[in-house]
């Protein structure tokens, strides 16, 4: 079943196109990732999908509701974890959930029934009456996720859900998202953590300058866009070494004092490196980050 479909989505601000013909399709139960560098148009796309911004063109439908025409009805079945925490600082953990549930028209009985489960999911059952300011960053994120679940949504939008979290908190967050996927929820995720996307997402689209420049499963994207093996060579001598031995790589990229050597077979490169004096290097399989950098370039985007 198709949960979300966007065709030819366009939006520009003051004559500058931000989203230029984006197509997206998400099936029920999958985790879909929208990746892109800063300023690629991820947030604008998300706002258009939620019906908070009227697009200049294109068709959007979510859970069978046309957007923005029936956006409110669609949002009744959607949960949103925004990029920036906007929990209510005047309230406790419990009050945040109760007050948010009212915006969905849930009555007190329904809220009371859901509250223990949500607190347990967020791992905050013992902190139900704590003030928001006393929570750690990870707790706040988990509470924001629990808040997005008050209406038992079919589709969840998560905008960079683990930005700013420590590794422990990120893993807990991923665990929570996996539990939701196991329950059959559909997840729409934006991130620029490639390991996160690779770990969680069934399918990805990479957005750059308002256009989808690649789409597919993480494995297919790696296979299609990049050589399977990478040797990274570090240090002052890396560049000179690369200039002399670049012919051993199928493709070579240099970033500062690091040389990236992409290849189908890394034996020759590794042998040469072992023979050289004091070279620091790492050989590894290619990953999504390599694809991302290959497709969107290494220049800063902010």
């Amino acid at each position: 079943m198709r949960v979300l479909s966007a065709q030819g989505l366009r939006k520009s601000y003051g004559g500058t196109p931000v989203v230029s013909g984006v197509n997206l399709e998400i099936e029920a139960g999958e985790c879909f990732g929208l990746l892109g560098p800063n300023g690629a148009g991820k947030t604008t796309t998300l706002r258009c999908l939620l019906g908070l911004t009227e697009p200049d063109g294109g068709e959007v439908s979510i859970l069978g509701f046309p957007i923005p025409g029936s956006a409110r009805r669609a949002r009744a079945r959607i949960g949103v974890v925004p990029q920036m925490d906007n929990l209510d600082p005047d309230f406790t953990v419990r009050e945040n959930l109760v007050v948010y549930a009212r915006y969905f028209g849930l009555d007190q009985g329904a809220v009371d029934a859901r509250l223990p489960g949500l607190l347990e999911f967020a791992g905050l059952a013992h902190r139900a009456d704590a003030k928001i300011q006393t929570l750690s960053g990870g707790m706040k994120r988990r509470l924001t996720l629990a808040r997005a679940l008050v209406n038992d949504p079919d589709l969840l939008f998560l905008d960079e859900p683990t930005t700013g979290l420590d590794p422990q908190a990120r893993h807990v967050m991923w665990e929570g998202l996996r539990r939701l996927l196991n329950q059959g929820k559909t997840i729409f995720l934006t991130t620029h953590f490639m390991d996160e996307a690779e770990r969680l997402c069934d399918r990805l689209s990479i957005l750059d300058q308002g256009r989808i420049i690649a789409a597919g499963t993480p494995a297919a994207l790696i296979e299609r866009h990049i050589e399977p093996l990478v040797v990274e060579i570090y240090g002052e001598q890396a560049r000179t070494w690369g200039e002399a031995n670049g012919h051993l790589c199928e493709r070579m990229e240099t970033a500062g004092e690091t040389v990236f050597c992409y290849t189908h077979g890394d034996e020759a490169v590794l042998e040469r490196l072992r023979g050289a004096q004091g070279m620091r290097y790492l050989n590894r399989p290619a990953n999504l980050e390599d694809v991302f950098l290959r497709l969107t370039g290494r220049e800063l985007r902010d």
Partner: protein
Amino acid sequence: MRRGHFRLPLVTLRFLPVWRRNFLVWKKLAIPSVLGNLADPMLYLFGLGYGLGSLLHKVGGGSYIVFLAGGMICYSTLNSATFETLYSGFSRMHVQRTWDAILNAPMALDDIVLGELVWSAAKSLLSGFAILLVIWVFHLDRSWPMSVLVIPAVMLIGLCFSAMGLVVTALSPSYDFFMYYFTLAVTPMVLLSGVFYPVAQLPPLFQHLAALLPLTHAVFLVRPLLMGQWPAQAVLHAGVLASYAVVSYYVAVVLFRRRLLQ
């Protein structure tokens, strides 16, 4: 600005959860909040009323403090509505991003703005009513049954100045911007609108100017009711306040849409 931004505001009961959210926050700080509502206008009322009043003969046909009481109700309502929509409203919209969170639920921006308007009007009603209680306790009114009608008048005054405050909030880039509204609008209006002295004392030009200001009409409505008289041209005064309220509310909704739904 899109054409859709100009459509009429949606008025539905969906504003209630927004109102209740603000009420729940207020409940936590109710006592200091009510004391704050009371302290400032009471200091003016008794300080000016007895201090300045002892130097004055009759003002408006009675003692100065009785004259001042009506002005203080309006001033207190204005103040409460303005502070709530400016500082608290801006915090919720811009600093805490509470509105963003609400917009991700099945709520429209119109619901939020209406919730803020009705909340601020309710809070300023409480401020005006608190002064009315003081007036009753100290017998500063001249007619008990008539002075009860001050309550609906204060409701209208609260709606009017809350809607005007929302327009300022919708335009404001930061808290500093509010200073312009206070210096250029609120303070001159308070001095021109007959809160502290009769408008008739002003030079004719300023009297004409005062007639355009909503606070003048608020005072013309409230003061006679405390004196036990039906206000002259009550419908006109109420109509001016209602017009300011409706037009400001519409302008505020359009400006908020432009600001938040781009």
